[in-house]
């Protein structure tokens, strides 16, 4: 959503790009695209599927933000057993009624660990930050749209 911090500059960008699958549109599956921006780590089987679909359809894939690049805060669960995490949330937690671990077939299989995306598919560029600022997005998208190699200036090379 930090992407939207471009504010009015979004309008100019929209003259050059068209959104495919994104949190802003009702496209449920990624189609063929020039650029794919992925944020968030890979936590469950469904994430893997979506990520592979993105990779297959996007010429350039960019890992956006700490979670996509190294797992970020969600990867803190990697220090614990998945089962302990589930038990804490649904069985032994405060105020829980009907304790049980949700296990319906509708729920995608959880992965043992949270993975950064480059451990699942090849990544072309990394855009650091939690989240990257709107300026950082523009700095990487501008050159890419013009067919040039993007360079991130040092003031955007930070991880907070």
């Amino acid at each position: 959503m930090s992407f939207l911090d471009m504010d009015e500059r979004l309008v100019a960008l929209l003259e050059q790009v068209e959104f495919n699958r994104s949190p802003l549109t009702d496209i449920k599956h990624c189609g063929s695209c020039e650029i794919g921006l992925i944020e968030g780590g890979v936590c469950n089987a469904e994430n893997v599927k979506v990520l592979q679909e993105f990779r297959a359809n996007c010429k350039t894939l960019i890992a956006v933000g700490a979670c996509a690049i190294n797992g970020g805060v969600p990867a803190m669960r990697n220090h614990f057993d998945l089962k302990d995490c589930l038990q804490e949330a649904y069985e032994t937690g405060i105020g829980v009624t009907n304790p049980q671990i949700p296990n319906d077939t509708e729920l995608p299989l959880l992965l043992d660990k949270v993975y950064p995306i480059h451990e699942v598919v090849p990544v072309d560029y990394y855009l650091p930050g939690c989240p990257p600022s709107a300026d950082a997005f523009l700095q990487i998208l501008g050159p890419l749209l013009a067919g040039k190699e993007p360079v991130l200036s040092s003031d955007h090379l930070h991880y907070d």
Binding site: V11, E18, P23, I27, E39, P74, L107, P131
Partner: protein, 491 residues
């Protein structure tokens, strides 16, 4: 749990997966019989993070900055709720006037930007183009193309809220600001003046946004019963029963407006609320203990707050609240789509409150940190986040490391209501019909009224999109309906 029996040839399952124009990952499943009659409709949250566990062993003062990463839309709400809990742990019962005002200003900025994003960026396409309109156009880009005036004002409203957050926390998303017992930096006079410079426009846009929502709701009688439910409402209110986002007592009312309880101390939330686990969703189902599991579910968020409050402290928003109540002849408004209307009343209240705070000379003082008291081993912080009451609860050990954490986020409180609303829409609009993309979007419109943000519901971080599935009567997946890149439905 449903058993995996052989699929019956006569029944189907439909899934909307992912639900889009929300932040977070949700999925809707429908179970239909041979004549397309709805047997069951469910809203699932399919991501799990395990925050309650992995926060264990971390120093308590770090918590506000971890937890804000639960949500890309309202991180400030999490930071503030956790900060209130941390204040308690440090034995601080009263912040300095400037710190209180800065936190309130930050919170108003946050609610304003989140409400603007919720309506303009994510929901307005449904109302401006129609629930069943062309999906290729039904998004903020489409709105920018067809109604640039409206869309740009929405973009600017959000921008202003973000600028307030940036002025106080140093960053638009995931900055710092709170410290135990106060705030870490004063608001500069330059930043205050820059914000004041634009407030007249913001007040104007806020009024226009409200008028637009009011008009949309009143002009469309079919919106009145769309996904509408008769429910209990829970919210925090101020000392005099006024609309309050940062600090107050809990109030719950029955659907007819009768009090269930009032001015309850939120530190007693464990006596007030419990959460039920169901096997088919990672999001729990909270209920008021007093009413029990079956009757005790409730709604939170703008509709609950505007219904529950006796008045609003700022004049424009108060006039709007009175108008809202007149619309329902003085009763509570139950229309689910009126969430958006209530949301814009609140956005206007934020703009007015921001104006008041910016004019207050104390807002730029540097008296930021209160005296600390005796350290405690437990802290509970509750605020009204944009989408409803938000509970943060932490226990720590002698070394100051977290031993137990519990969060009840707004989306979770609305879980049962979102499920009921989906069922209502499915019965009213889809039952007996051939399922089309346009009809499926109706289900998503219901979800979006409550929440464009499902990620914190499972204490998730990052994005999760929604899906509808067709199941046969035994619950076996028969078919899956998803929208392709061109908005066409794939089976």
């Amino acid at each position: 749990m449903e058993k995996n029996q052989p699929p019956s040839p006569t029944t189907r399952r439909i899934a909307i997966d992912p639900v889009t124009r929300v932040e977070g990952h949700g999925k809707i499943t429908l179970l239909l019989d041979a004549d397309n009659h709805i047997q069951e409709a469910r809203f699932h949250i399919v991501e799990f993070r395990g925050f309650e566990k992995f926060i264990q062993g971390r120093p308590y003062w770090e918590v506000p900055f971890f937890v804000q990463r639960l949500c890309g839309i309202c991180p400030v709400s999490h930071q503030l709720a956790a900060a209130k809990a941390v204040d308690q742990i440090e034995g601080v019962s009263q912040l300095t006037p400037t710190a209180t005002k800065l936190r309130r200003l930050l919170h108003f900025g946050q609610i304003l930007q989140s409400h603007a994003l919720h309506f303009f960026h994510l929901s307005s396409p449904d109302f401006l183009f129609g629930f069943g309109s062309d999906p290729a156009q039904r998004n903020i880009v489409g709105v920018l193309g067809k109604y640039p005036e409206i869309a740009l004002k929405g973009v600017r409203l959000r921008k202003y809220g973000q600028q307030i957050i940036e002025a106080i926390t140093g960053k638009r998303v995931h900055g710092t600001g709170t410290v135990p017992g106060g705030m870490n930096k004063a608001l500069s006079i330059v930043a205050r003046d820059a914000l004041l410079n634009e407030i007249a426009d913001v007040l104007q846009w806020g009024q226009e946004a409200l008028a637009l929502n009011e008009q949309i709701h009143i002009a469309n009688p079919e919106h009145r019963d769309f996904a509408t439910l008769q429910t209990n409402f829970l919210s925090m209110v101020g000392e005099e029963g006024e609309l309050e986002f940062y600090h107050g007592g809990l109030r719950a009312c029955h659907a007819d407006g009768a009090s269930i309880f009032d001015q309850r101390d939120y530190c007693d939330y464990q006596q007030i609320l419990r959460e039920e686990v169901r096997s088919w969703s990672y999001m729990k189902f909270p209920y008021l203990c007093q009413l029990g599991k079956e009757q005790g579910w409730y709604r939170v968020g703008p509709l609950a707050r505007v219904n529950n409050s006796d008045r609003i402290s700022t004049p424009l928003a108060e006039a709007a609240r009175q108008h809202f109540r007149e619309f329902a002849q003085g009763e509570f408004v139950h229309d689910t789509l009126a969430y958006h209307w209530a949301r814009m009343i609140e956005a206007l209240h934020c703009a007015e409150s921001i104006h008041e705070l910016l004019l207050d000379p104390e807002i730029v003082s540097d008296d930021l940190i209160a005296e600390k008291g005796d350290k405690r081993q437990e802290g509970i912080g509750v605020i009204e986040a944009p989408r409803g009451t938000l509970f943060h609860h932490y226990q720590i050990n002698e070394e100051g490391l977290v031993t137990k954490a519990n969060l009840i986020v707004s989306t979770t409180s609305n879980n049962q209501a979102m499920n009921e609303s989906i069922r209502s829409v499915a019965n009213q609009y889809l039952d007996g019909h051939e399922i089309t993309e346009a009809l499926l979007n109706h289900l998503e419109v219901a979800v979006r009224a409550y929440d464009p943000c499902l990620s914190c519901a499972t204490h998730a971080l990052g994005k999760m999109p929604l899906k509808v599935e067709l199941r046969d009567v035994e619950g076996v997946l028969v078919n899956q309906l998803t929208k392709g890149t061109n908005g066409e439905i794939d089976h």
